[in-house]
Symmetry: C2
Subunit: 270 residues, 2 copies
């Protein structure tokens, strides 16, 4: 019987093994790998399955699992001897959300824009140049919608938001190029074109992606500053390109205005 986890993730074994070696606190690297594995899996896993998948020693794996269970980050079913993610991770996430004023302040803005334009709005946070994470979402609730979930991850430089991150991040071109080459688009722009779009993004204060990341889908993104330096957040609008049509201009204006207001509240600003 084929294992869906192994099928999906090419080789976590190598990665984990390498990371464990370098770290001065390898138990934590192992623990994180286990948490992620349990997150990917749609059913609870046993010690051996986890150890095999991650290339860990079963006994070590057991100790780590017990420690995680003690911390209520992992649940343990004594009958089946299977482990799964536990609700403790949710508590951590709640604290994280509460800690960052962006999340609270962005939500009402997203709600209003989603309602007004009848599309899906996201609040996004960049994590370096690796990826960005959806931290807030609002949907209009009527008609067909494109849907994501809070907590979803995307490559940092993809789509309209990626252009914002690149445009206002002041990164060396060589660094951008390296990341850019790893991106997957439905309709990939050439690097030179993309660099030109970055200049335009800087000039107009927002970025647009018309069907390049996902065919038929238009994404508009405006950066939000929390302080000086590069922006880490962005407000994002996602809609079916055809349905947007005439409203695109108004949406852009509204988005930039909202992002500007938010930057002001957060003490950021150009």
């Amino acid at each position: 019987m084929s294992d869906p986890i192994r099928a999906r993730s090419p080789s976590p074994v190598r990665k984990v093994a390498a990371a464990v070696k370098d770290s001065k606190a390898p138990a934590i690297t192992r623990a994180a790998a286990i948490l992620r594995l349990l997150g990917r899996s749609d059913r609870p896993l046993g010690v051996q399955a986890i150890a095999k998948e991650l290339g860990l020693v079963p006994s070590t794996c057991l100790y780590v699992l017990r420690a995680l269970a003690e911390e209520e980050l992992v649940s343990f079913d004594p009958d089946t001897k299977r482990y799964a993610l536990e609700a403790g991770v949710l508590t951590l996430a709640r604290h994280w959300l509460r800690r960052d004023p962006f999340n609270d302040l962005a939500q009402p803005l997203l709600d209003r824009l989603a309602q007004r334009f009848g599309l899906t709005m996201l609040g996004v946070q960049a994590v370096g140049l690796d990826h960005m994470i959806v931290v807030a979402m609002a949907q209009s609730g009527s008609g067909f919608q494109l849907s994501t979930q809070v907590g979803s991850r995307f490559p940092a430089l993809i789509s309209a938001t990626g252009r914002c991150i690149a445009a206002f991040g002041d990164y060396p071109e060589t660094v951008l190029k390296a990341r850019f080459d790893q991106l997957r688009w439905d309709d990939p722009p050439a690097f030179d074109d993309w660099m030109a779009q970055l200049r335009q993004t800087r000039a107009q204060g927002f970025a647009v992606d018309e069907g390049q990341y996902i065919a038929g889908v238009t994404v508009v993104s405006a950066p939000v500053w929390k302080g000086a330096g590069r922006p880490v957040h962005a407000l994002v609008a996602i809609g079916i390109g055809a349905a947007l049509g005439r409203e695109l201009g108004a949406l852009q204006d509204a988005l930039v205005e909202a992002a500007g207001a938010l930057s002001g509240q957060l003490g950021g600003g150009a």
Copy 2:
């Protein structure tokens, strides 16, 4: 200058130290303590502050933090050398939510009930007899509301939901007594009265708390079964007691019906 963290949590040092000693993977215990500390704190913390607060050795603390930062569970600001929770915890939480069908299935029911009765509805999961966690929430959006957040924790046996957990959990009375004695109520019931209420809860299939946990607030809770054994989930309605009035009967019926339907979908049932 007084430290808000120390003021709030009596002595994490002892707890962490004890837990670290027993564990076969102490790094994980430390890591979890750090994550929770960073969660509690409303500003980023430095190595020394964290180490002092938790009674850890600074160098060890540093290694743990670096490992956590590597896993993107903790963010590090190279300028200020401060650490804080990172968005990775949110990704874990998303996986946890997705993994449990209760969360997806409960939401529409909660939305409908919140709308119909104009109050706050919760989906709750019990974690043993220690505490329960809010995993889903719906609010009617009109008028004054009692508010909690997804991820919030409560003692397992408190209020109406606590009665459900105790009533259907089949725990020895001595165990219940020990936990019961630690609870804080606005208007604490006597243990014997409480035991009688458990019998009633078993008989009628739901529990009510009228101002005992929080003065003036009525809580109704109905258990949800995912399989055989004790229920781990519950649907909860929270409203201002006075405002509920006549509707209480209808609310109880609707809640029990929703919880029953949900149990059916989840493959549980009495």
